[in-house]
């Protein structure tokens, strides 16, 4: 680690974090000139995507724990350091973030009100997300964890639907309560570590070596868990998500479901599990059961929704239940499946949220009762809707299937009962997704209307996603390759 840090290298990771921040500031400086803001936002996110892609291609394969590592002093009084570290999982998440952000910017193209602020907030959110995925110092991590909330809060509360204020406040406070527990646990861990070694530090890599009694470990783990479980969100802490997703503006929902939800699970993988291995081992069975309950509860709820956005919100919770189940299985294949599923779920559900927004723009409704028959009215849009719905329910050959099958296979090895139950849940997913397809694109049209089909901008959003969905379904290996080493290390306790 120190070797890597001492090598003079270009600070790519800082660039990933700071580039969107700079773009956000530029947008604010150009407030009032909407066209320039759009161009600026697009250029920034393209640049970020370029950097992410470069890192994936050129730094995707590496020896050792970290592909890239940046470390410099920050607040020396409390041993807080500016540490950004990228391993295989972080690399995938960074890539996903950069990709989804492009789609979000394109989706937000038609925002009319306060354009500069909207794009600035989207970019700020991207910066926060990059920070969450890369920071490797607890306080630094916490900084991004909280900072990412603010843009999302404003996106929902200013540009959201009818109940936006309530939803925004609920979203913020739920996640805040969780993260405050994490803050207290963080400081406690810092003091225990400092007391033992005399070195007061918040760098996760060094805190891994802290010796904790079982009670200490349990409580501290619970503190971190509070933050991550609420964010994931596991049932019964999920109620904020359905409201937030339903009320958020289209680009906000896209980022929320595609990226922000992943931060909770990512926190578990990167922070909570490695720091508290024994408590984790004790907790895994509970986590597995919670995941299964969530999977079924959310699938059941999804089946009974009429609002298609709400249906997708529940389907997200259900999918993330499967992701968490894979983690709870604590097994190489299952973990790789979980992480892959995180990525593919981000893309498929993200694309579905885009489509819902496009349908809403055209028909001014999200209710299945008033929809239907879109196949005849907007064939291209309906085709994409069908494709992503099928991908979402796990059709073989499309993106989610690869992740799901890996999770189920891996889980089956040690926990066959979980795997069988989860399989039923996947069938359930097919039920509500088919209902969605039936309600939206098939059947007789609820109303006779002439709707415009996809515009070039919309093609530009959806086509790359569709290609990626097919690619990930048929040949996910390039995306799994960077994971092998990282996952193996993490399963072995997180130490290099």
């Amino acid at each position: 680690m120190t070797m890597l840090a001492s090598l003079p290298q270009f600070p790519w990771l800082s660039l990933l974090v700071l580039l969107p921040l700079g773009g956000a500031l530029l947008c604010l400086l150009h407030s009032g000139r909407a066209a320039e803001c759009r161009a600026l936002a697009l250029a920034t996110s393209l640049a970020v995507f370029g950097v992410a892609l470069y890192l994936f291609v050129c730094h995707g394969q590496g020896e050792g724990r970290w592909l890239l590592y940046e470390d410099s002093a920050w607040i020396s009084r409390y041993g807080i350091r500016y540490v950004l570290a990228m391993d295989g999982i972080a690399l995938l998440m960074v890539l996903l973030t950069a990709f989804m952000q492009l789609a979000a910017i394109l989706l937000a193209w038609k925002v009319e009100r306060q354009v500069a602020s909207f794009f600035a907030l989207l970019l700020l959110l991207e910066s926060g997300l990059m920070g969450i995925f890369l920071a490797y110092d607890l306080v630094f991590f916490y900084l991004f964890w909280e900072v990412a909330l603010i843009p999302m809060f404003f996106l929902i509360s200013i540009w959201g639907g009818v109940n936006r204020r309530r939803a925004a406040l609920k979203f913020f406070l739920y996640t805040l309560v969780g993260s405050f527990f994490m803050l207290v646990a963080m400081i406690a861990l810092y003091q225990i570590h400092g007391g033992q070694t005399g070195v007061y530090t918040f760098v996760i890599g060094e805190l891994l070596q802290t010796r904790l009694t079982a009670t200490q470990e349990g409580w501290l783990f619970a503190g971190f868990l509070a933050a991550f479980i609420v964010k994931s969100p596991l049932v019964p802490f999920h109620t904020w998500l359905t409201d937030a997703l339903t009320e958020a503006p289209a680009a906000g929902s896209l980022d929320l479901t595609g990226l922000l939800l992943k931060t909770g699970i990512y926190g578990l993988i990167r922070v909570a599990f490695p720091l508290f291995p024994n408590a984790t081992a004790n907790f895994l069975p509970i986590l597995g059961v919670l995941a299964l309950v969530g999977l079924f509860h959310a699938a059941w709820s999804a089946y009974h929704q009429d609002d298609i956005k709400r249906l997708l919100a529940y389907s997200s919770i259900s999918h993330l239940g499967l992701v968490v189940l894979g983690l709870a299985a604590w097994q190489l294949t299952a973990w790789e499946g979980s992480i892959l599923l995180m990525v593919t779920h981000g893309i498929t559900t993200g694309a579905l949220f885009i489509l819902v927004a496009l349908i809403r723009e055209r028909t001014a409704t999200r209710s299945m009762q008033e929809l239907g028959g879109l196949w005849g009215q907007v064939p291209c849009l309906a085709f994409f809707f069908l494709l992503f719905s099928l991908a979402s329910l796990g059709l073989p050959g499309l993106a989610n299937f690869a992740g799901e099958i890996l999770v189920l296979l891996g889980t089956f090895q040690d926990h066959p009962v979980w795997a069988v139950v989860a399989l039923l849940g996947v069938v359930f997913a097919a039920a509500y997704m088919l209902r969605l397809i039936q309600g939206v694109i098939w059947g007789p049209a609820a109303k006779e209307r002439s709707l415009p089909d996809l515009t070039p901008r919309e093609w530009l959003m959806l086509l790359p996603m569709a290609l990626l969905v097919v690619w990930l379904g048929l040949y996910p290996e390039p995306f799994l390759a960077p994971l092998h080493g990282t996952v193996a290390t993490l399963l072995a306790g997180g130490l290099p």
Binding site: S31, I75, S76, R77, Y78, R113, Q114, S117, V139, Y142, L143, W145, E146, V147, I150, F153, F154, S157, I158, R165, A168, L169, F172, L173, L176, V177, F180, F181, L183, V184, I187, A188, Y190, Q191
Partner: protein
């Protein structure tokens, strides 16, 4: 008092004599601008004097310290006075108040606060406290035509009188037990074998009650919302920041000098801190007026400060000092935004007046959002580092319960601060534009914003300074 003492007292003398000179000038010369400029210049010169002139003695007549800690706060209060005058300029001119009186009172108040923060003697403590309280009685009610302000002034006067009574009686009791009023000794001599003597306990308890009134600890905080609401924002800004900060700074100085004195009072203080944090944050939830909300928020902050004081470790004292500085700069920003938006309709206070204002005045409303988020403790802002430092120290001293109460209060705080930020950017009906603000107001806001961000991202600068000056 020797000449050397006078030299050590130079910054205070500049404030006091400068204030008097401006007061007298104001009697003949009614043009407000030069008087205000003179006031700002006096405050800045005092700050420079405090920073540059090496004090020849360590203490002044046994009443006040002239050490680095005292000097640090002298600078802070002098700068605060300058900022307070810059924010008040338009208010004075529009209401046709006597600029000479106003400026001199603010300078006197700053002198009082600076003395209080350097007190090492109970008599000095008492005198300094009364000096600035007296100035505030008049400042709050400076606009006699405003009924709300007159009411606030009277309320502050009555509460202040009660507090003064407690303070004087408490000091008398301490003197009766210990035979001295010099601070480390008075604290030491009221104890035997680490336990407070009964009359000593009563004496310190009464001093504590007086302090509780001044910095509005629950249950002595009930005057705060009314006074904040009634006082004009430029005065409110000084009242919320300096008058409280100076008392806390004095307590920090006292504890740093005399070591742990509060063993017997620990339980009581624990309860006070918890109660104050809860009363402040829960009280703020129902408010529909930004100034009242800021009042309750200041109550919460005082509770958190008390947690830092309670630790009595050097870590806790450093954290408390950091917190005071940050709280002062942040709260000043909030009141400065209110003052800069005031126009002939008065200051925007009720939530209805803030609705949608963010679209009209995006920059200042963004500053207000930043200030409120810093008050709430969002990471990246100075408010977070302050809370972090206090909680860190409290956990180190084993006050897990208090930290959890503080965390709960923080969550509630976020709820009410965020409600305000949502109001600002609501867009159903366009708000009518308010005053565009003057250059001096914008300068103060810029300074506060810079401080919040710099101390939030690079707190090391301030922490290093504090650990060097703590006595």
């Amino acid at each position: 008092m020797s000449l050397l003492d006078l030299l050590a007292l130079l910054p205070i003398l500049i404030l006091a004599f400068g204030g008097t000179a401006i007061l007298m000038a104001g009697a003949w010369y009614r043009e407000p601008r030069p008087l205000l400029a003179g006031g700002v210049a006096t405050a800045l010169i005092a700050a420079v004097a405090a920073g540059m002139v090496q004090p020849p003695t360590a203490e002044i007549a046994g009443l006040f310290s002239a050490g680095g800690y005292a000097r640090f706060f002298t600078i802070l209060w002098a700068l605060l006075a300058a900022a307070g005058l810059m924010v008040a300029a338009r208010y004075i001119m529009e209401k046709g108040l006597g600029a000479g009186e106003y400026v001199s009172l603010v300078l006197y108040a700053a002198a009082g606060m600076a003395l209080l923060s350097s007190a090492i003697h109970l008599l000095g403590f008492f005198l300094a406290l009364e000096t600035f309280t007296l100035a505030f009685y008049i400042l709050i009610a400076s606009n006699r035509r405003c009924a709300l302000a007159a009411e606030a002034g009277l309320k502050y006067l009555l509460m202040g009188a009660v507090a003064t009574g407690f303070m004087a009686f408490g000091i008398a009791l301490i003197y009766a037990v210990s035979g001295t009023l010099a601070l480390p000794d008075a604290a030491r001599l009221t104890t035997t074998a680490g336990e407070l003597l009964p009359w000593g306990l009563l004496g310190w308890g009464m001093v504590l009650i007086a302090v509780g009134f001044k910095i509005s600890l629950a249950p002595f905080h009930l005057w705060t919302p009314d006074v904040y609401q009634g006082a004009p924002a430029p005065v409110g800004g000084l009242l919320a920041t300096g008058s409280k900060g100076a008392v806390v700074a004095a307590l920090v100085g006292l504890l740093a000098m005399s070591g742990p004195v509060w063993h017997d009072l620990t339980d009581l203080l624990w309860l006070l801190a918890a109660l104050t944090m809860l009363a402040g944050s829960l009280g703020a939830l129902g408010q529909k007026n930004l100034k009242r909300l800021l009042a309750y928020s200041s109550v919460t902050h005082m509770g958190t400060l008390l947690v830092g004081l309670l630790c009595q470790s050097s870590e806790g004292l450093a954290a408390t000092t950091f917190y005071v500085v940050v709280y002062v700069l942040t709260s000043l920003g909030a009141f400065a935004v209110i003052a800069s938006l005031a126009d002939e309709r008065g200051e925007p206070m009720a939530f209805d007046e803030w609705r949608g204002l963010g679209h009209r005045h995006p920059v200042r409303c963004a500053v207000l959002v930043l200030v409120l988020l810093s008050l709430a403790g969002l990471p990246g802002t100075a408010g977070f580092m302050a809370k972090f430092a206090v909680f860190q120290a409290a956990l180190q001293s084993g006050y897990l319960g208090l930290v959890l109460v503080g965390v709960f209060a923080s969550v509630v705080s976020f709820a009410f601060y965020l409600r305000v930020t949502m109001l600002l950017f609501q867009s159903e009906e366009p708000a009518s534009p308010r005053h565009a603000g003057t250059a001096s107001e914008h300068a103060v806001l810029a300074a506060c914003t810079a401080a919040i961000l710099v101390f939030g991202l690079f707190p090391g600068i301030l922490f290093d300074l504090i650990s060097r000056i703590l006595p």
